[in-house]
């Protein structure tokens, strides 16, 4: 826990020392006031696991954002089949000719079997696609969940009842199965059966489906929080002064809900990264030749008995990212909500 705050009013001690102290510290005292957010930040900075995980996560996001730049400096792209330009890269069985999956100073992470694409840029762009979709789905899920949850909790009554039943139904679905069954339907709505499905539509459909099944958990959690908060006296105090429902929700309730929202968001993102990769692996999400974490793992799984190296890079990087992000989520929760001891 934090050190106790110096007592605000200590009129009984009028020794010279305290007078000197108070005169010197009046100025900074006012600005040094510790907001709950600042206290959480201080706690977070002390948590080594959290800080290291944060660096790992930031690293992943930076390389995802900077993928085109890195690829340019590196001089390759994820689409060119380098083996067709230089057949000596692959051996007679279409596996990389060099040792360790063809890793060399030219192809840092080796080359892909059969097609001979560059693994390093393929992974960079794959991370970019996967993180982009997962991030968009997370943001959308959180926004929908927050809006629905707060509305249901604050309005109560019939709205709350209907929303709660919808959440019950959604949560009782076996979501993975439903994704697999439902994705072709989503594509079917927009594209004729014989046409090629554009990549943007695949990404959009993934985001939509992940959101449609993700918001219920957050909405339920926030509904519960709001039910508790709206009976608190500070909400009544705001009502007595004539505050509008909008003001109560945004100025009184929402600041008290940031903690669960941030915690849920940080724990949701790695889940969605794996879910997105899983769907792509199963062939209902992003498909080859678009670089994607799931696509890469799916391809890797077809020849990992001959060439483990290709599987290793997307696999290890994904495990690293998901573990780091989950640890970060835990640390964020510990920092924001110190009372919930694991």
């Amino acid at each position: 826990m934090t050190s106790p705050t110096p007592s605000a009013a200590t009129p009984l001690e009028v020794t010279d020392e305290t007078v000197a102290k108070s005169t010197t510290s009046t100025g900074p005292k006012g600005s040094e006031s510790r907001s709950p957010g600042r206290l959480a930040w201080k706690r977070f900075k002390r948590d080594k696991t959290g800080v290291i995980s944060a660096y790992v996560v930031i690293f992943f996001f930076v390389i995802a954002i900077a993928a085109p730049l890195i690829a340019k400096l590196y001089g390759k792209n994820p689409y060119t089949t380098y083996a067709s330009q230089d057949p000596s890269l692959l051996d007679a069985f279409s596996y990389p000719a060099g040792p360790n999956g063809g890793m060399s100073s030219q192809f840092w992470f080796g080359i892909e079997p059969q097609l001979g694409r560059d693994v390093f840029t393929f992974l960079l762009y794959g991370i970019r696609t996967s993180l982009g979709i997962a991030l968009a789905a997370t943001i959308l899920t959180v926004v929908v969940g927050v809006v629905v949850g707060i509305t249901a909790g604050y309005l109560g009554g019939k709205t709350d009842y209907i929303v709660s039943r919808v959440i019950d139904i959604l949560l009782s679905f076996p979501s993975t199965l439903f994704f697999i069954a439902f994705m072709p339907v989503v594509y079917g709505i927009f594209v004729a059966p014989d046409d090629n499905i554009p990549t943007w539509l695949r990404a959009l459909a993934l985001i939509t489906v992940l959101t449609a099944f993700g918001w219920a958990t957050i909405a339920r959690l926030l509904r519960g929080q709001v039910l508790g908060l709206r009976e608190r006296e500070f909400v009544e105090a705001a009502k007595v002064t004539g505050a509008s429902p909008m003001r109560i929700v945004f100025k009184e309730l929402l600041p008290n809900l940031w903690t669960p929202i941030i915690i849920q968001g940080t724990l949701l993102l790695p889940t969605l990264v794996t879910a997105e990769a899983g769907l792509s692996f199963l062939g209902v999400g992003i498909i080859d030749p678009t670089p994607d974490w799931g696509v890469m793992i799916a391809r890797g799984s077809t020849f990992y008995s001959q060439d483990l190296t290709f599987m290793l890079f997307p696999g290890v990087s994904m495990v690293l990212f998901v573990v780091a992000f989950n640890l970060l989520g835990d640390s964020v929760r510990d920092a924001l909500d110190p009372k919930s001891k694991r």
């Binding site: 705050t5 007592s7 006031s33 709950p36 500070f234 002064t241 600041p255």
Partner: protein
Amino acid sequence: MSNTNPLLDVSGLTKHFPIKGGFPIRRTVGAVQAVDGLDFQVSAGESLGLVGESGCGKSTTGRLITRLMEPTAGTIKYQGQDITHAGRKQLAPIRSEIQMIFQDPYASLNPRQTVGKIIAGPMEINDINPAGGREKRVRELLEIVGLNPEHFNRFPHEFSGGQRQRIGVARALALEPKLIVADEPVSALDVSIQAQVVNLLQKVQQELGIAFVFIAHDLAIVRHFSQRVAVMYLGKIMEIADREDLYDNPRHPYTRALLSAVPEATVDEEPRERIRLVGDVPSPINPPSGCRFRTRCWKATEKCASEAPPLVQVEGNKPGHLTACHYPETPETIPAPRLSKDPEAAA
């Protein structure tokens, strides 16, 4: 009331909370009669104390006056204007004149807002821009309630319970109200702090001329603070009178019993005769017929069960002293020994 134009005029105020039940179709199967037909007035600058046991409807009354709850029946008039069922927009001009101080200083301040924001909030909502800016006004208010004005950008968790309650008072004062409903403002504080906060409220009342509806269960504090006192029991006013009148000449058996239960500080005096009420407060879902107090009253007769006594000025009362009892107490009446007397005191 001698004052013909009271600040707040409440008549027949009733609040019933419906009890829902039944399956498969939920319907109203009963009602908790939290407040059942209250009549009282509060004049400008006056403090009305509202006392009674837990669950007698004091807090509900406070929330009805501030219109946090919708009354089931009755009227609330503020300066002659009927606000019983006024909507948020209609209430807007009156909101700034009726403010509330809450019981729990730990729940009544938003933990995510600085003290400055909390106190400036009411001004922001009502779009009031005092001369010199809101921050200056916040500092002034903090000074009035005896806090360091430099603490305006601190957070509630950095303050003690008594200091938090002072912040609550400052927030209530921010709009320069004419009436403050104080819902047990000191019962969550320890005794030494209680005195400080009560004295602060008294200072505020006297210097700023604000009328108070002071809800409490501590008779001593109400006696200290309120010029007029209403005693409530099971959603009804049993007796309402000026302070001295009520404490020196209680006419309702319930008031008398309450007063006799106040602990005595002096040990040398003759032990005072104590009236011990037996049994529990009946359920407000199904209150007793006639007089609500009859189940615990030592004077109850058939008449009390069949006929609810009206709140009137009974014989021998001063003007403004209203009692709802068929058999009012007189200084001479001694409670019947049946169930009332303290056995030790009798021995």
